[in-house]
């Protein structure tokens, strides 16, 4: 089983990927896109990296024979 502490981290990351905390205002462009779009993509990139870490570090590899080929 994966450690329980990863779930609050995921919750925080996904919550941060939704721009509810970005104040409405004039258009601000980062890297050619509205800044809240760049923020969202950056946070999802963080989710992807964290997932690679979790899978590699915590997913057990204990093997059993397949029941049927």
């Amino acid at each position: 089983m994966l450690p329980r502490w990863i779930w609050p981290v995921y919750l925080a990351l996904f919550a941060a990927s939704v721009p509810w905390y970005v104040p409405d205002g004039p258009l601000r462009i980062w890297l050619g896109l509205p800044h809240w779009v760049v923020l969202s993509i950056a946070v999802i990139a963080g989710v992807a990296l964290f997932t690679v870490f979790v899978v590699r570090r915590y997913w057990p590899e204990d093997e059993e024979a397949a029941p049927e080929r």
Partner: protein, 491 residues
Amino acid sequence: MSALGFGIAGLAAVLLYLIGMLYVGLLARRARASDSLGDFYLAGRGLGPFVLFATLYATQYSGNSFLGYPGEAYRIGFAWVMSVGFMTAIIVSYLVFAPELYRASRRLPLVTPGDWIDHRFGSPALTLVANLVFVAAISNYLLAQLMAMGHVVAGLSGGAVPYWVGVVALTAVILIYETLGGMRAVAWTDAVQGVLIIAGLGGILATVAPSPAHLAAITEWVAAAAPEKAAVPSWADCVTWGSTLLLIGLSGAVYPQAIQRIYAARSARALKRGVAAMACMPLLTMVPLFLIGIISLRELSALEGIAADQVMPLLLAQWASASPWLYVASLAVMLAVVAAVMSTADSVLLTLSSIVAKDFLGKTVLRGAPDARLTRAGKVSSWAIVAALVGVALVPRVTLWGLIELKMEILIQVAPLFMLGLHWRRLTAPAAIAGLVAGLAVSFALPLAGYARPFGVHDGLVGVFANVVVCGTWSQLAVIRERSAVSEATA
């Protein structure tokens, strides 16, 4: 643009690709080890890291991704960046149950998702209801793919090849290679199709190649022409965004075809590598598709009232006529779109046929029949399912995104069976049935009663909340009843 969008070379490329898929189907048939259900539907449980990743990828990214999603970005604007998040949420949701389910699949002869539900809960009624949900949801999904085939062919040939020819011809090819080689054929063709999709996305990036300055010009144009499409989403929009993350994330992970790929993994290591790679694919796939939708806002601004599903074919046709290099790049994208649609349709069809053969026929009229007979019944049922759905696809009435949302609202109701069922021993079969029925009832009742999407939250998500509450309460009541019975007996 000539009458036949990509000309003779485009048509030849598609034909060559289709012949290649049929050849892979033949190779897969030669590689079969037996006529068992495990061999036909799970490729002998021997998918290695690359093929497993490719089949997960090609199955998850479908006609909806290539046609529906740029269309949604065109329709709603920058807020469609949420698609990158919800495709990532699907992979995160896998982590809730895939490690345990994989281990169970090594101990037990699981072929369909219903097999695990049967083993865990021992309730034929629950397995039947869950299977009906699976069939309803993925039939809808398959229908969306069949419609996408027609749109792709019609759009990319500039209307020279009619919609119905696309639906019928591509479906026939899928049926043939799938009947020949089962999951092995599907996974191997998915590997080819996955490579084509990645090459196509490279083609997209090479074609569009938006520099920050170019993108900034488009963003400013959108902000001036349609300010609501570039503005910071309102609080209500953010609630719907969060609701979409949960809805698609939870339901996308329990697609029966995705669950069967967990069973089909050769080893835990192969599955881990596949899932880790999949976590990065939304960034590499959805971001380019999102950008295409955004770019189309300006490029297709002269065309009023175009269907959102037609954005991608129209853009490709426009780029292909601009220069020889763009023609080649657009051709790669076009093949990728065809590959994406077919790779999802074949996986969904195979899963549907396995549920019909093993869980419906194998437990009723073919109870006790040998595997070879069930496998044959599954092949026949594939043809019957497709015949029925092609009939519906030839008279399309809803958009692709409409179909996707519809199936997700239903499919999410089976997520607790896997996500709670694997971790919470106290979840009983009666509680799970009550939860599932309550979830479905709430999901359907809300729109019927005129309260669709309360506070911007999807009906399916409200339904799954009711589902989990009923599961939890019912199971706890059973524990309390048990304890009081024990204390009465000992008193």
